[in-house]
């Protein structure tokens, strides 16, 4: 049985026993589907399938020294999402875009509007540089630690911490009643 094994053991076994990959799908699909649903609603189901095909195909590239299987899967998901939005942008190249072709911000912002998030919060997020925003959302929504988020994005942990720190300060400084640094 494979159910008692942890992710890394399962992935390590897939070289001999490809079926060991299946429990990973069951364990991580909900979180990965959530990642897509927040950033590409409507395409989440397709992207989840694409992610697992991609992850299975590239499973030998997993390096335990660089992080957990979960973190690696989010990294693959990030690439799948990015390719998705680039495809969408390429389908209509004549439409001018204010942000990068693969930045999901517009979709994320639509979600924030639908969830009736305070306009001020949306505005602050919109003003963040896209890499700070991405890290912040990975930490807030995917519940990744700063170093996990760094691995997902492919930057050193120290860089991610600096950016997250900056992002938090921007989110604070833009808030009302925050002249002293105290939160409201």
């Amino acid at each position: 049985m494979t159910t008692g094994l942890d992710d890394e053991e399962l992935l390590g076994r897939t070289a001999r026993d490809p079926a060991s990959f299946e429990p990973l799908v069951e364990r991580h699909s909900a979180a990965l589907h959530g990642y897509f649903a927040r950033r590409a609603p409507g395409a989440a189901d397709d992207l989840l399938a694409e992610l697992w095909l991609q992850a299975y195909a590239t499973r030998r590239g997993f390096d335990p020294a660089r992080g957990s299987v979960r973190t690696w899967l989010f990294g693959v998901a990030r690439n799948v999402l990015s390719a998705h939005w680039r495809r969408v942008a390429a389908a209509r190249p004549d439409i001018p875009r204010a942000i990068g072709d693969d930045d999901p911000w517009e979709a994320v912002d639509n979600r924030l509007v639908a969830e009736a998030v305070a306009p001020r919060l949306r505005e602050l997020l919109a003003q963040l540089p896209s890499e700070e925003r991405e890290l912040l959302l990975l930490v807030a929504w995917e519940q990744l630690t700063p170093s996990e988020a760094a691995t997902v994005v492919g930057i050193p942990a120290a860089t991610a911490r600096t950016r997250l720190h900056r992002a938090r300060n921007r989110m604070r400084s833009g808030a009302p009643f925050d002249l002293t640094g105290d939160l409201k």
Partner: protein, 348 residues
Amino acid sequence: MTDMTERDDFLDFPDADELIAAGTVAPPSNAKVMAVRDIVALLAERETEQAPTATAHANVVPLATARRGGPAASLAPPEDLPEDPLVVLGPDGPRTAPRQRRLSRRGRVLVAAAAVAAIAVGAAVYPVLDVTGKPLSTASAASQFLNDMAKVSTEAPATHGTYWMVHYWVKDGRSTATVTVYSDRAGATWIRQPNGKLSRSGHNIADWNVGDRRLPWTEFDHLPTEPEKLKARFPKNAEERFGQIMSLLAESPASPDLRSALFQIVAETPGVTMTPEVKDSRGRPGTEIVLRGTRRVDKQGAKPVSLPYSLRYVIDPDTSRVLESGSAGANPLVRTTYLEVGWTNHIS
């Protein structure tokens, strides 16, 4: 400081809780996760032909049903169906020993593709094959409809103007935009952007894909209007050919005779289905045409897999104009709704 308290520290700003709460989404249905798991299982099986290790699953796609015209079969065009007799992969299926007849590799890839499609399109499927593998009436009805459109096209007067104008509304999951594109005979292109600004386009979008070539519409006159000859100019691959031709029908200033020939070519595409009396996203009535199939995807470092595609168009049966294009399903990747397409003498 541990990683998690560090996380809390970075989320220590006003309304962070509101932001976190806004990320709450419904989890995927168990059936979807199981279907994906089965795709992976099938891929894994391909790698262990001699030593199957997969266990029985209750949720795999029942292929026998598929063969009878159920969802899975309907997603593969007739030409792509595996020749081997299909094996039921259902609850009583061959995943438990003894493994009587294994699917051909191609067959299993198709199952995987169908399973992905089942996730993608849910219950909205259109039967293409009946028990005997012959096309159902929907397919021949689609062919009939497209041939009718060929006739309607020739009845339209051949008109001309200074600029060819395509005014459309596009929705791509992130944003929506209404854009007008003007192009003249010299190949210059202007775009009226959503903010009202008019700009000369950086890239020339007055060219259309015809086979391997990018053809400006001033050269359309050189294209044959005899369907068989014209078909030879387009890709042999049904999906590519269908896409190129529908794009010409939707957005190009093809003459009535050329449009007629283009409709006759797509009318011969196997696997096209038709649904009359639909409405496009602007509420305009039309007839829906869908081509579904599978395309081969080569990923580096892995064996190629087949993934499903669908191309969907809504056509105005009275004029043969394309009203809308995109993929099938509730949330197409990109949906273009044509608001006005034709000649004009002024850029407005």
